[in-house]
Symmetry: C2
Subunit: 253 residues, 2 copies
């Protein structure tokens, strides 16, 4: 029997419009689809009629499908000769547990293809109408998760001291303590934004400063999934909007 | 007369397969296309018959089209009521001068839409078969340009000390001095890779260590455009390949 394979497909923020052609082709070619719960339901319209769909939701806090079980499923179907497509929200290679999945599949001798996608930090910046790395302001951007596996915090002071834009994932529920920690290094008027469901029709965003972002996010009832963006490059959003008669529009083609 | 608008479209690494549907729709809707020289020529097959194509190549070192001229062109056509689509390689919001373009257009009262794409750092990681943020190894990833506008260098020591994966753009020509600077903080056996033309048919990659990456890149004649990836998460590439009978395959659907 032929050995199957696994394709890790990054589904982007949600809207099917933000899928790549390569991702759509991979989904159409799948025998078995394992679909994350941050992925839009509509994605199954792209699959082949015979393909089996398994939803493997696993949101922070309520682990409906344990990671080990997802990995066993992928391995089992691939060893049966199936083409397994694992569809992950955002970009699979950024905070997606893809590293563990690839390593385990590799150990079982299973080939893995990876298809890139749009991560929510980029979608959030597009919605705000800003570059993450405006060269008047910074030399780069740091993507960091606020949710460390050992329960500790990233070294916010060291990250802030680099002067780079910060894109903080999985931090919405602790935005108060994170912004507090960053204020030890950054001025309270440092531009900050938080964007929930970035890149989807239900996107919700707040532009503020490091000093008031936590209060403003609470007021706007911003919750997970959301990305927090901090740095002077993000402040261009307000400048760009103020310069115009109409707000930044996101394309809805 | 209606005021036109500008859409900044991120074309990804090159292969049209890595475009998003939204990007393809924007290109099809354009009256005027301004196309960067890192973008695959084939992209014009997606345009409308009437659309005008202007190539605005501007590679590091040989500035064939000055940035100010590109910005003037965009503004002029938009103020004539045209839909201008500016097609940039990679992700427009990462090291793409998009910040300056958006700000100038906003000042002229011109609406700007942004369409995200796949940046070469992600495409490089997909080719290597690694996550940029394997949680056994790091808390995130830093995207930094080695090419600072004032001719200075990023603070390599501070970046290395964060323990994060480093994705260094525009550093191929100075990989020797960059890896040397990083060795003040990181061990010489820290995994390192350099990937030229990531995500395209002519992709070329070298997996090595911080100690020998510069020599190995020179040997393999890796040149710009290339991205350098450094950190323990990148070392998974070798482990994953070694565990299997066949190398990591990139999907060519």
């Amino acid at each position: 029997m032929n050995k199957g394979k696994v394709t890790l497909v990054s589904a982007g923020p949600g809207d099917l419009d933000l899928l790549t052609f390569r991702a759509a082709k991979a989904i159409a070619a799948a025998d078995v689809l394992l679909i994350d719960d941050l992925v839009d339901d509509e994605i199954v319209t792209l699959k082949a009629p015979h393909a089996r769909v398994i939803r493997v939701g696993k949101r922070g806090g309520c682990k409906s499908t344990p990671q080990a079980f997802i990995q066993r499923l992928m391995r089992r179907y691939a060893l049966q000769g199936r083409h397994v497509v694992r569809v992950k929200g955002g970009e699979a290679l950024l905070f997606g547990r893809a590293g563990e999945e690839i390593a385990e599949l590799a150990q079982a001798g299973i080939a893995v293809d990876i298809v890139n996608g749009i991560s929510s930090g980029f979608a959030a910046a597009a919605g705000l109408g800003v570059s993450l790395t405006h060269r008047d302001h910074c030399q780069g951007v740091i993507f960091v998760t606020a949710h460390l596996r050992d329960g500790t915090e990233p070294d916010w002071g060291a990250l802030a001291a680099t002067g780079m834009t910060l894109a903080i994932y999985m931090g919405a529920s602790r935005i108060d303590s994170i912004s507090g920690a960053l204020r030890h290094t950054l001025a309270p008027d440092t531009p900050a934004a938080v964007v929930q469901w970035a890149g989807t029709a239900r996107e919700k965003r707040v532009c503020a400063t490091l000093g008031d972002i936590a209060a403003r996010a609470a007021q706007a009832q911003i919750a997970s999934p959301a990305v927090i963006l901090i740095g002077n490059a993000i402040g261009e959003s307000v400048a760009n909007e103020a310069a115009r008669s109409e707000p930044v529009r996101r394309m809805r083609a």
